[in-house]
Symmetry: C2
């Protein structure tokens, strides 16, 4: 199975529905701001997750597309607001919404995407009581995402973030939306209660593993693979699991002798050589290996949860997508 | 009937539910930011509307409280984001959320209130298909509110806003949330399809009337009644229906001879005497009377929609609350 081809096939199917859902509103400026991120494309991982899980538990995956698209719209709304909060000028090489339309319109466009997401949810072809469950789950999830965003922001001004706090932040900011997608797919697909819970766990665990592996790649992959400058996490002083682990280790062992090297952490003007020294120090402290170990452990536990599914191509895909995301070194 | 007492009685009942719904989340900073506006109190007009309409069509109004509270939370989320967009430092004499907690937390807190609103909606004690209808209606409404906010922002930098555009903005930014409250109350209360539609129209029309009358009061009431400096709409250059009408009239009649007087419009440093001259000009142009006439017309049309209800105390209250809001001169 070619995971990339399978992902692309699903993304194409999702795109058709997604752009149709965005055919709302008559006020042109807001319409454009709302569509700016969704129409830029993307891997559509959340809708694909909902679709694949619904198929895997036995039902037509298309029934899960409205729910999946709702999650994609929620994801896009968080990106729009994140970019305002971080005052980022570009996203994937394109101007951010607030750069194009101004801060107020970006805030409103995010809110509008949020509203459209729930409108799309209402079209899910399930009975009313299952719809109620999806509504509650999605809303709980968005609240958790908000908590994760708040933690992430608060971490920027703290140098005492613990591994436990970091893991909680990653779970909330990233993993719960994937978990909600898989859970929803199982509910819509008519899965058993055990399958619903296992699918939630599968996606939560693989979402955490995926994010940590992404941080590992940020230090060990090359620029072409990453699509961003290597070591940008070092220059930005980003508190990844690896950095948090390294600072905890240094706290135990004494950081004084490394003060010179660590000056490059959070220094946007650090040279490539200085950045490499920080990465070497993290390597020496065992922090990069720790990051790899933790990510691979989450991936393994995620795959175990798939035992609740009968054999199928979709089950294979759900397994392979974890191996594809966590473990590759380029 | 004492309308104020009746409103206060309903607000008290709403408050108990509302604060319970806000007992969510374990991240303290976000919890506090989320609760900042709701716990400041307020008239709770939207939940009271849903409650009263549900009673008026024959069902226990308490069934409509979750839906009403969801609308109140949506209303509060728009206030939090509005204050960020307008960069207002205070609301009703208290610091705004972004003043206390910073812009990023205010954006997140607004989003969190939005999520909680939908979580509360899921607890509405109606069958799943009626829940689906409420979900779709609420989401459509929030999108319209976003359009209204966008229009309001865009109007600030335009001096050619037409009466039609102004009316559309007021309807979307203010009236549709009331309309959604009344419609939802009728759905939850088991009203007929005619009652559901008439209640929507009742609240939409009275919401527009209320907003226009509020603009009239901003020019003719005294400071104590308003709770804000008289003429602040003049100094802020606010494009109320009255101002829009006046500028349309001046466009027809020729504004040149009034250029001196109009310099105070949108001039924050204008003296009281200069502001009074603008108000006198608006009076002379018939714009204030026009505002009164339009508001009273909407109020009258709103009350006609009540004919679909059987006689009851609640019906009387719905009538009197319109007269109380639209028509008083102090």
């Amino acid at each position: 199975m070619n995971v990339l081809e399978e992902l692309a096939r699903r993304a194409k199917m999702v795109d058709a529905s997604l752009m149709e859902y965005l055919e709302v509103g008559k006020y042109e400026k807001l319409r454009k701001a709302v569509r700016h991120y969704p129409e830029a494309g993307g891997k559509r991982l959340r809708p694909s997750m909902a679709y694949t899980v619904a198929e895997a538990v036995g039902r037509n995956g298309k029934d899960a597309l409205p729910f999946g698209c709702a999650l994609e719209l929620i994801h896009n709304f968080t990106l729009v607001h994140d970019d305002v909060m971080d005052q980022d000028a570009t996203r994937r090489g394109r101007p951010t919404v607030h750069t194009l339309y101004g801060m107020p319109t970006a805030i409103i466009a995010g809110d509008a995407l949020f509203a459209i997401a729930y409108k799309v949810l209402a079209t899910t072809p399930v009975d009313g009581e299952r719809l109620r469950r999806l509504l509650a789950s999605l809303s709980d999830t968005v609240y958790l995402v908000a908590e994760g965003q708040q933690m992430d922001i608060d971490f920027e001004s703290r140098d005492d973030v613990t591994v436990e706090e970091y893991m909680e932040m990653v779970e909330k900011k990233t993993a719960v939306l994937f978990a909600c997608a898989a859970e929803g797919g199982a509910i819509i697909g008519g899965g058993t209660e055990d399958q619903i819970q296992d699918m939630y766990e599968y996606a939560r665990l693989s979402g955490i593993g995926f994010q940590i592996w992404d941080d590992v790649l940020g230090l060990i992959a090359n620029e072409k693979v990453l699509g961003k400058p290597v070591g940008s996490d070092i220059r930005n002083g980003k508190r990844t699991l690896i950095a948090v682990h390294a600072f905890e280790e240094l706290g135990r062992r004494g950081a004084r002798e490394h003060a010179e090297v660590l000056r490059a952490f959070g220094n946007e003007k650090a040279t490539d050589a200085e950045v490499r020294k920080v990465i070497a120090l993290f390597q020496e402290l065992g922090s990069i290996q720790h990051g790899k170990d933790v990510a691979l452990d989450y991936a393994a536990r995620a795959k175990e949860k798939l035992c609740c599914l009968p054999p199928s191509k979709e089950k294979d895909f759900l397994r392979e997508v974890v191996d594809f995301s966590v473990g590759r070194e380029k």
